[in-house]
């Protein structure tokens, strides 16, 4: 089994999930509570990775982070490195690719919080930011957990985007799915089946845990 690839995938998925939570919660808040008419455009943008082929997304990310693009140039100036075929580049692509998997469950959970609870908090003199932290987030924990776990699992299994943006550099960008593909190409079916089975078990366990967790939380805090 390619432990190096597994460890890389886990690191990538963990970092992606952390970034997505930091970015996704404010965006989900904005999508849920903003009165702007044009927010459907942002909603469509966020959901785009669900329908776009990973190769298309990967292609555009590759163009956007290349050394001749503004983003790539700024990154090169700041760090001296390049984004394509690096772990950082892969991370950026993964964040974009898993965006809807965080934002949608979280936004759904936010929308499920009774608006009167927010108004009650505001009328008690508590700011919007503190209300978000003290009322919305605690009442949305099941949705936030779902978003985080789905993003983690989704990143763990991504293939097309990694291939486009990261390539196949051992220890840098060769993730589990690439490693399996490599093994199959090399007719090393034993290694491929081992790693595949591992990925299958991990994914199932993670999802089973999510559903179990949600059931418990919902039993304690019924959301109506």
């Amino acid at each position: 089994m390619d432990w190096q690839a597994i460890w890389l995938s886990v690191r990538l998925a963990g970092a992606t999930t952390a970034i997505l939570l930091a970015l996704g919660l404010p965006i989900a808040y904005w999508l849920t509570f903003s009165p702007r008419r044009w927010k459907f455009l942002v909603e469509a943008l966020v959901a785009l990775p669900l329908v776009l082929p990973p190769t298309v997304l990967g292609f555009y990310v590759l163009l956007a982070i290349g050394p001749r693009s503004p983003l790539g140039a700024v990154y090169a100036k700041l760090t001296g490195g390049m984004l394509p075929f690096s772990f950082q580049g892969l991370l950026l692509a993964s964040v974009l690719y898993s965006f809807p998997f965080t934002v949608q469950p979280v936004a759904a959970a936010f929308a499920g919080v009774d608006r009167k609870l927010l108004e009650a908090s505001w009328c008690l003199g508590v700011s919007r930011a503190a209300t978000f932290r003290r009322v919305i987030v605690p009442l949305s924990l099941p949705g936030i957990a779902t978003g985080a776990i789905l993003s983690f699992a989704h990143t763990l299994g991504e293939f097309g985007v990694v291939l486009m943006v990261g390539g196949n550099i051992s220890g840098v960008t060769r993730t589990v799915s690439i490693s399996i593909y490599d093994s199959v190409q090399a007719l090393n079916y034993a290694a491929a089946s081992q790693t595949s089975l591992f990925l299958l078990c991990v994914s199932f366990t993670v999802l089973a845990l999510t559903y179990a967790l949600q059931r418990r939380i919902w039993a304690v805090w019924p959301i109506n």
């Binding site: 609870l117 108004e119 009650a120 908090s121 505001w122 009328c123 009322v135």
Partner: protein
């Protein structure tokens, strides 16, 4: 004149319905103001505009000389800056916090603990708010709002989430708690008995407009127009005292009457000072003073005025206290009722409805 809430604002709601509120509340004279009106008259919208939860389209709101909203000057204070406590119809307690945590949500621990004690919630401190009764939830919501030290308290139909028996019991308790809290309050209700039991001052809202404001008794006895009269529905609100019990009925003495008439009514469990509410159409008039009838109450008085209202006549009597009767114009004519004539007013005991009511002057300071 500084201690006032002045609200002159307009808000167009989606279905072409406009709330246009012109309201002036003397906070020093009115610890509890009742915003009264039928369902859909715009009361809740007005309350939300006062809280800063909804922005009026035009006008201004001034609380104790501080502008809360002024469309012309572009002022619109956020709810956090107004410090107007808001009690929602279903109380909106935070379900992920205990009773004690709810009360301490926006207050120092010490204040919260004192309020838990004051409101008799100490034993429920660790309970989940979903596991306690409606009346207890109401007390938690009120304690939570008071803990944040609001300048004004806004209550949206605070009794509507309770079942009927609890509701009439809680009316009196709620007024007592509001007076104890010492914060001027505005209570929205569409129930006239609640209005009488809770309020000192009253504003009647019909079709999005404030039609009349004034002391509660005055609004009931002198409605400004027929629509107000129709919505308040009770013309006689008499401050009275329970002086005894007779064969299962309560005996009332109308305040200010030394040897005056006693009124009997059905015992509904009220105690102490009360308002006796009698609809004008439940008051009959007769010239025979000693005729036996099933009605328990027979009050001697004289006619002050007879005002024709279409097929009906509104007869204002003086029985030592003012009493309004509504009879058909025909009977008024047949009886040849004229000013100064002696008659008796006949009222069935079952037509007298009681609402317990502590006057603001004798607010229970000792119970703090």
């Amino acid at each position: 004149m500084a201690d006032q809430l002045i609200c002159q604002c307009r808000k167009r709601l989606s279905k072409g319905f406009e709330v246009e509120a012109d309201l002036r509340i003397p906070l020093d004279r009115a610890p509890v103001t009742v915003l009264f009106g039928p369902s859909g008259s715009g009361k809740t919208t007005l309350l939300r505009m006062l809280a800063g939860l909804q922005r009026p389209g035009a006008g201004s709101i001034v609380f104790r000389e501080r502008p809360w909203f002024d469309a012309a000057r572009g002022i619109h204070l956020r709810p956090q800056e107004r410090r107007a406590g808001f009690l929602f119809q279903d109380y909106a307690l935070f379900p992920h916090l205990t009773v004690a945590e709810n009360v301490a949500y926006a207050a120092p621990r010490e204040t919260a603990r004192r309020l838990l004690d004051t409101f008799g919630l100490a034993e429920l401190a660790a309970s989940n708010p979903r596991a306690i009764s409606g009346g207890q939830q109401q007390r938690v919501a009120l304690a939570r709002a008071l803990a944040a030290q609001p300048a004004l308290l806004l209550l949206d139909e605070p009794l509507s989430a309770l079942d009927a028996p609890t509701r009439s019991r809680t009316r009196y308790e709620l007024r007592r708690m509001l007076l104890t809290g010492g914060v001027p309050s505005i209570v929205v209700t569409h129930d006239r008995m609640e209005a009488v039991a809770l309020g000192d001052w009253m504003a009647v809202m019909v079709n999005g407009r404030i039609r009349q404001t004034g002391p509660v008794q005055e609004v009931f006895s002198q409605p400004a127009d027929s629509q107000v009269a129709e919505s308040v529905g009770v013309e006689n609100v008499l401050a009275a005292e329970i002086v005894g019990r007779e064969s299962g009925l309560l005996v009332l003495k109308v305040n200010g009457q030394v040897n005056g008439a006693r009124i009997q009514c059905v015992d509904s469990g009220e105690t102490g000072p009360v308002f006796a509410c009698i609809r004008a159409e439940d008051v009959a008039i007769t010239r025979q003073m000693d005729q036996v009838s099933s009605a328990r109450n027979r009050l001697a008085g004289c006619v002050r005025a007879v005002i024709a209202e279409g097929p009906l006549a509104r007869v204002e009597l003086d029985c030592g206290f003012p009493l309004v009767a509504l009879v058909t114009a025909q009977s008024a004519a047949e009886m040849a009722l004229g000013e100064g004539e002696s008659v008796s007013a006949v009222i069935k005991a079952t037509s007298v409805h009681l609402a317990a009511h502590t006057s603001a002057l004798e607010s229970p300071q000792g119970e703090r």
